[in-house]
């Protein structure tokens, strides 16, 4: 059962990674000079990484 749940979460993580790639690419096109979006992007990626790591630690 743990394998099933872990596999499910890994698939979700992969989908999230694809989505984040799209988001980062989008920000690169819409951002302007002196834009502080890199701070928000860093927070977003850090929180997501924390969620992924915490979930995997609980699962494995």
């Amino acid at each position: 059962m743990t394998i099933g749940a872990t596999s499910f979460f890994l698939v979700v993580t992969f989908a999230w990674a694809l989505f984040s790639f799209l988001v980062v690419s989008r920000i690169r096109t819409v951002r302007y000079k002196e834009d502080k979006s890199s701070v928000a992007l860093t927070v977003y990626l850090a929180v997501a990484l924390a969620i992924i790591m915490a979930t995997l630690i609980f699962l494995l």
Partner: protein, 197 residues
């Protein structure tokens, strides 16, 4: 070397106002996010009292992780929608950037010479309390109007737009053309153009 501050920024073009949406307008997305975070917590607190069977807890953890990533992604897209909506007033143009969705974006460049009318509108309790609202800039011809929502001090922005418009008309010496377009022909010219009797 000229580094553009926004797409279409011309060398020597001076930015007078760079207006983002008011922070209070982000309150509703924040409330949506708080509700989305609180919902699974409430369910997990209530579930044991309803005789919840915790034998498949690994699926709950995986589900919570997936839900967390989902909520975070939704929050980030909402933030992008808020942050990348802005209005720029330069000494030559009005540039309205509207992030409609993650992949949808609308940028309107309008010459200040084409501006006919600008107005600011506040509506409701929050907008009146925090002095933010909608700026509407109307233009001549078929060019669509500029409508930017939730900007702080809309009346001041509308006033500044018209002030810049008048200054540019004066600078470019287009006052005669403008008067003619509005139907106020200079009397000297009218007499000169009148057919002989």
């Amino acid at each position: 070397m000229h580094i553009p501050l926004f797409p279409g920024h011309q060398p020597g073009e001076h930015i007078v106002m760079f207006v983002h949406r008011h922070r209070i307008s982000f309150l509703i997305p924040v409330l949506i996010m708080v509700t989305m975070v609180a919902l699974p917590v409430l369910i997990l607190l209530v579930a044991p009292t309803l005789g919840f069977d915790a034998t498949h807890s690994e699926w709950i953890i995986a589900g919570l992780g997936a839900y967390g990533l989902f909520v975070l992604s939704v929050a980030f897209v909402l933030w992008m929608d808020y942050f990348y909506d802005f209005l720029i007033l330069t000494d030559r143009h009005v540039v309205n950037v509207e992030q409609e969705s993650l992949l949808g974006r609308r940028i309107a460049y309008i010459s200040l010479l084409r501006v006919q009318d600008a107005s600011g509108k506040t509506h409701g309790l929050l907008q009146s309390l925090f002095n933010y609202g909608t700026v509407i800039i109307e233009t001549a011809g078929e060019t669509p109007d500029v409508i930017q929502r939730d900007v702080p001090n809309p009346a001041l922005i509308a006033h500044k737009t018209m002030e810049l418009h008048d200054a540019l008309i004066k600078k470019e010496g287009r006052h005669g053309e403008l008067a003619q377009a509005e139907g106020h022909h200079p009397p000297g010219k009218m007499e000169a153009q009148a057919p002989p009797r």
